[in-house]
Symmetry: C2
Subunit: 611 residues, 2 copies
């Protein structure tokens, strides 16, 4: 009872199944909620490009402009591709479903694993970048980076265990707030560059006359890979089509296009400002490039701090999208037997509690291992995303080739382009970032794939073992009930009467350590005469478990498994929690041993103590 | 199975009850095993006296001689008193039994609590003094004092969980080794003082001409209290009378007398050497006084190191005696309902596993809190011992007064003397050591007494609740069995057939989240027709627990408790340990909830997976 009340206070009232319906979103609400992941990545995207270029010296920074252009092109290819996913999957399958349906279970699993890794890294990267926004504004917070990050993660775990429906509208505010401030930043910055304070720094002049030494193709590709982290999260809208207000597909497609335009504009704008301002990233990662640009544009005033707060908030929201995505995907995969079954159950508040807590633990491990450094986590990040992009687009290609619906040529081309581009990025990323950390994910994916396949096989084996035909006859067995007794008291009387009401085949079983004890017990029993036979075992060992096991084995031998055995064990249910330490230690031990070793039914008779 | 094999390897084969008989000891084996606690205390007794005197300056050290004389007198009074305990209790009750039988349960409890505290402190003090022997010989070990101490404690826990019978003979070697080396030390030291190297330091000359300033009566009494730590452990022999070879009483009395003589001689000898050598204790406690004396007598050669090793070993043995005493006392008290019942059960190897582990934990806490410093632990030590001495002697006095057996006058006088002396030491100790730590024990004793009384009352309440008369009629109840089902498969078929073999009142219970699901399930059920009714609950919540509870409550309302309910839950018993994570999460939750909330029997039907 106390636990129930506590649960209600901490996690809110349980939701009914119908209440899911109330969560459907219009575009103005869908955009902020589903795009925080993608939009927030501009907070670190440009910085990651500059960091990758910095090996060739600061003169190479201007090459971030063509890289940003390439990434914007990538964004639009993906937007077009994913608009087709929305068309094909109005119920919002997501990459896992698309790959599973069109390419088969094995590829589906691969996609699922990539996505689970991606969700975990989204939390870790977004939270670490969010903390970077804090340390940029408040340098004294630097020693507590990991602690702040963990606090944020578990705050999200808690919020999501409560359920997110009521926070839906609230979640849109920080995203709009961030969009507004960043657009203001780009506007003010451009004005300054053209007419104002920074007037006279022409963009062209930032390009060095010659290609700087050390700026190899490898470095350029690596910088491009780093920037691709800005693209992650773009698929979120296609997963959530049914959550949109009708017409849900049209609304989802509209939202996706708006996201693409906004993302390109903001990412491009910030990169231009960074190059024009000649900003160099902080190698320690305590002050973000976005913070530097903001400070140079707004000064370190109220607008600067508001921008930092907005950045921190949208990054936290981005991490939060994973807390929606991970448990849903784990649940879908669990229903397909590709994940432990417990992840399939919905908890009391329609939230997938196991998934939420698992994600919290995994993200915490990542943040602790990488000391909450964004640029250490980036090399692990986008590889899973682009693998799932590739598989989803390839899946759609197969679909168009098979179904040949109207306009399938055009659709095949777009998804083909998406698949080729995604795969190219995947390969570039894997090669250029391999030694920086991508190897971890490249090793991890096959391992997880193997584990998940083992889980699937196990469930299949169990299902085979349990399958029966509806025509099969029901097995028939006689039951023998054993009631272990240690004396004559109310609990024993109850247990025996329950047993007798079920079957006449009841025996009481008792241990005696000496001949006198045996005799005394038998005499007392005869006097009481509860109508069942008492079997006394002289025990040479001091535990009751062993003789009971011996007894069961003898019965099994004797009647050749014709009788099914049930053991009736009393368990005291105490009134005060500490009383629990004073009872039941033995009943539990016997129960576990019997269940593990024999094919006997163990029935627990609760006795609720009044005092 | 694997666990059983592991248990055998780590803890040895389980012992049978008969095998206890083989552990009976002759005197030559009883002396070392039962006296290690008392004898080992000479390793720190003299040092504690000197430390207490040092507040009055080193000139006061010679006053340790009269104090030692007083303590030797105390030893003989206790030896005489305890020889009478052996006479009166041939089955070796120990102080708890003596106090309980002659003074009543409340005083018995007080004695029990004091003894349990004493056992815990014996481990902590002996281990810390043992580590001191190590740091004396190897000063580089000083930073690891606590770690070494904890290692020793848990080594003993492990050995005792294995059972101590086989180590009996082995245990006598270190004690004889220690006695031999210490006698050699005293012999060589006396020779040197009289004829050899140290010739010409007359003992008398060590006494200062006048009483040194600062040497108040209080300081003298405090020094006396400190020295009383050397007396602890003297009662061990009287607790173990039945473990002696016949005639066990005579053998035990002989052993006790031998212990008294040995202890007095060794304690006196070491104190004389310490005074004659003008040894000053190390205030940091890293080098023991015994180590200094040994070094001055033998030089820092092989004999020195052997003595340190012997000291360490006998102190470890002393700690080990508590690992025998604590679990036995806890078990006896548990049988009297004065301690949680689980302490009453013997484990597989005749060892009281709960008691051993509890003692290990408590001693570890003491060693960590007091950083393994012997002289910080001493003020807590002897107070419990002398309280139990007092209560045991007073109990015997009552016995003589009541029974008036032959020679009861003499016996009354001896035990009266013992009681008065013990009580005096108890009071002196409590006053002079109060602020140094005795207050902790003085506060702890009534708290534990209260807790134990609560435990006793709880067990009495339960016994009252459970008591029935042998003439009472057996209650009669009809049974209704509920089988929760989630589909139609082998496990469900088995469960239903078991239920049907027990009673015709069986219903299957199932949850549907939608109308279609409900209809589908019902159709399938009709086709299968297992011969029992299926009840489908449309659930608005996503858990099965709530609807099941609702269902049970409705039945309870409807038939007004005339039917007893049994719920049959299947549980998968997996073949590989990791498969367990893939099942059963839900069955456990349902089981706990039902048992805690309702008076229903929960039967677990194991299904052993083959793959």
């Amino acid at each position: 009872m106390l636990m129930d009340i506590l649960k209600k206070i901490i996690f809110g009232k349980p939701l009914k199944s119908d209440e899911i319906e109330t969560e459907k979103m219009p575009v103005w609400k869908g955009l902020p909620i589903l795009s925080s992941d993608a939009l927030s990545s501009v907070a670190y995207g440009t910085e990651q490009i500059l960091l990758a270029l910095s090996v060739a010296g600061t003169v190479a920074f201007s090459y971030s402009l063509p890289i940003a252009l390439a990434i914007i092109a990538l964004i639009f290819i993906l937007v077009l591709s994913y608009r087709q996913v929305i068309d094909a999957y109005p119920n919002g399958g997501g990459a896992y479903m698309v790959a599973k349906e069109n390419l088969g279970m094995v590829w589906g699993r691969l996609t699922g694993v990539s996505l689970l890794i991606d969700y975990t890294l989204t939390v870790a990267v977004s939270v670490s970048a969010g903390v970077q926004a804090i340390t940029s504004a408040i340098p004294t917070a630097v020693p507590y980076i990991v602690e702040i990050a963990l606090l944020l993660v578990w705050l999200m775990v808690w919020l999501n265990l409560r359920g997110t429906s009521e926070s839906g509208a609230v979640f849109s505010i920080p995203t709009y707030f961030f969009i507004f401030l960043i657009l203001l930043l780009i506007g003010k910055g451009s004005w300054d560059l053209t007419f104002g304070a920074h007037h006279g720094i022409p963009l062209q002049s930032t390009f060095p006359p010659a290609v700087p030494a050390g700026l190899s193709l490898f470095v350029l590709l690596r910088a491009f890979s780093s920037g691709c982290s800005a693209v992650t999260g773009i698929e979120a809208i296609s997963d959530a089509v049914p959550h949109f207000k009708t017409p849900s597909q049209a609304n989802a497609k509209k939202t996706l296009l708006m996201l693409g335009i906004l993302l390109s504009f903001i990412f491009g704008g910030i990169t231009i400002l960074a190059v024009a301002y000649h900003v160099a990233p902080d190698p320690k990662g305590h002050t973000s490039v976005l913070s530097m640009i903001t400070e140079m544009t707004f000064g370190r005033g109220i607008l600067y701090y508001l921008t930092q707060i907005a950045t921190m908030l949208i990054l936290t929201l981005a991490a939060n999208t994973s807390f929606n995505g991970f448990p849903i995907l784990a649940s879908i995969m669990a229903q397909d037997k590709n994940f432990p079954r417990m992840f399939a159950n919905r908890g009391d508040r329609l939230a997938y509690n196991y998934g939420i807590i698992t994600l919290g633990i995994l993200a915490s491990i990542l943040l602790i291992v990488f000391r909450g450094k964004t640029d250490s986590l980036i090399p692990l990040y986008a590889i899973g995303v682009f693998l799932s992009f590739t598989l989803a687009q390839t899946g759609l290609m197969r679909r168009w080739l098979k179904n040949k619906t109207s306009g399938w040529h055009r659709r095949l081309f777009i998804n083909g382009l998406g698949a080729v581009v995604s795969f190219t990025v995947f390969v570039i990323f894997g090669i250029t970032k391999f030694d920086e950390g991508a190897w971890i994910v490249i090793i991890l994916i096959p391992i997880l794939l193997w584990v998940i396949t083992k889980i699937y096989r196990h469930y299949e084996d169990v299902a085979d073992e349990l399958r029966i035909s509806l025509e099969d006859e029901m097995p028939q067995q006689e039951m023998l009930i054993i009631v272990p007794v240690a004396g004559i008291h109310r609990v024993v009387a109850h247990s025996i009467s329950y047993a007798k009401s079920l079957t006449p085949n009841v025996v009481a079983f008792c241990i005696a350590f000496s001949d006198e004890e045996e005799k005394r017990m038998e005499e007392k029993w005869d006097k009481w005469s509860p109508g069942i036979r008492l079997i006394v075992f002289k025990s040479r060992y001091r535990t009751i478990v062993k003789p009971l096991c011996e007894f069961i084995e003898r019965i099994h031998l004797h009647v050749q498994y014709k009788q099914k055995i049930m053991v009736l064990l009393p368990e005291f249910i105490t009134n005060k929690w500490w009383h629990n330490f004073l009872h039941n230690q033995y009943a539990k031990k016997i129960r576990n041993k019997l269940l593990a070793k024999y094919d006997v039914i163990v029935a627990t008779v609760p006795y609720h103590l009044h005092k």
